[in-house]
């Protein structure tokens, strides 16, 4: 199991790095799916098989598909890839990258400084999760439901192709 964890972790890291370095959106998304799957494996090794399933279904499935749909709607061409190349110059990314790596180093230092403790062997059953969710966290579940509802309504509202801009100050932007 340990080996699985490390392998999956390595895959996840490499895939994620590839996601952020791709110029083509579709390629990046494919690597993203790989990354999510690797993380699902990590979940599995950590004794959360139900979460691993969720990860694949929702992240690698639903969310990525959503993004791909949008990309298809936007009709991206080779030009956009070229844009991407122009935008991603070393002079642009070197500063933020260094700062972020410093942040990572600090995080790593914090993790390492605490005493070592192994993750326990037992998996946490989906049932226990369900009991917790609908027990003490019922309020959170309801709020999540509302959030999703709001997300759907919001997405619908925003996603409409409005012929007429309602706000009078913005009328000039719309023909």
């Amino acid at each position: 199991m340990e080996l699985t964890f490390y392998l999956a972790a390595a895959v996840a890291i490499i895939a994620t790095i590839l996601v952020v370095t791709q110029y083509n959106l579709i390629h990046a998304l494919l690597y993203l799916v790989v990354s999510f799957m690797a993380i699902a494996v990590v979940f599995f090794t950590l004794g959360a098989p139900f979460m691993a399933a969720l990860e694949i279904i929702i992240y690698a499935g639903a969310i990525v598909v959503l993004i791909i749909f949008v990309i298809m709607m936007l009709n991206l061409t080779h030009e956009d890839v070229q844009h991407e190349k122009e935008w991603l110059k070393p002079s642009v990314w070197i500063g933020p990258a260094v700062l972020s790596l410093i942040l990572l180093a600090e995080l790593a230092y914090i993790f390492m400084a605490s005493e070592t403790s192994a993750v326990a062997t037992q998996p946490v059953e989906a049932k226990a999760v369900g009991m917790a969710l609908f027990g003490p966290y019922i309020l959170g579940v309801e709020l999540s439901g509302m959030l999703l509802m709001a997300g759907i309504v919001g997405a619908y509202h925003l996603g409409r192709q409005k012929k007429k801009i309602v706000h009078r100050f913005l009328e000039r932007t719309e023909a």
Binding site: E2, F5, A9, A12, I13, T16, V20, L25, L29, S35, I39, V42, L46, A48, F50, M51, E55, I58, Y59, A62, I63, I67, V70, L74, D80, H83, W87, L88, V92, W93, P96, A97, L103, L104, L107, A108, F111, M112, T116, S117, A118, V119, A120, T121, V124, A128, V129, A132, L133, Y137, G140, S144, L148, A150, G151, G154, L158, G159, Q161, T173
Partner: protein, 102 residues
């Protein structure tokens, strides 16, 4: 059965988070930024799972479910916004949307 140290799990979460962060910072394409935010959210979820596994408690997974829910909602709204942005500005460049500068 296994002895994966918690630090290693957290380190993985940290590395993934930082990669996502770097991507948010350097990308101008707004869809890439959205993807990067997903990576960061996922990394945060991973950290919860690791912690839940360490203490053998369900709360870590509960939190992950909440995060996943939020991510789904965020993506849907975010994508709708991207569509509107693209519709108005004819570009995916986030810097072009700086009409609210001070």
């Amino acid at each position: 059965m296994n002895t994966i140290p918690m630090e290693q799990g957290l380190l993985l979460a940290g590395i993934l988070f930082i990669i996502g962060l770097i991507s948010v910072l350097i990308r101008r394409n707004i869809i890439f930024m959205l993807i990067s935010v997903e990576i960061m959210l996922n990394a945060a979820g991973l950290a919860f799972i690791v912690a839940g596994a360490r203490w053998i408690q369900p709360e870590g997974q509960v939190m992950f479910i909440f995060i996943i829910t939020m991510a789904a909602a965020e993506v849907s709204v975010g994508l709708a916004l991207i569509l509107q942005l693209y519709h108005n500005l004819k570009t995916l460049d986030s810097d072009a949307a700086n009409v609210m500068n001070g």
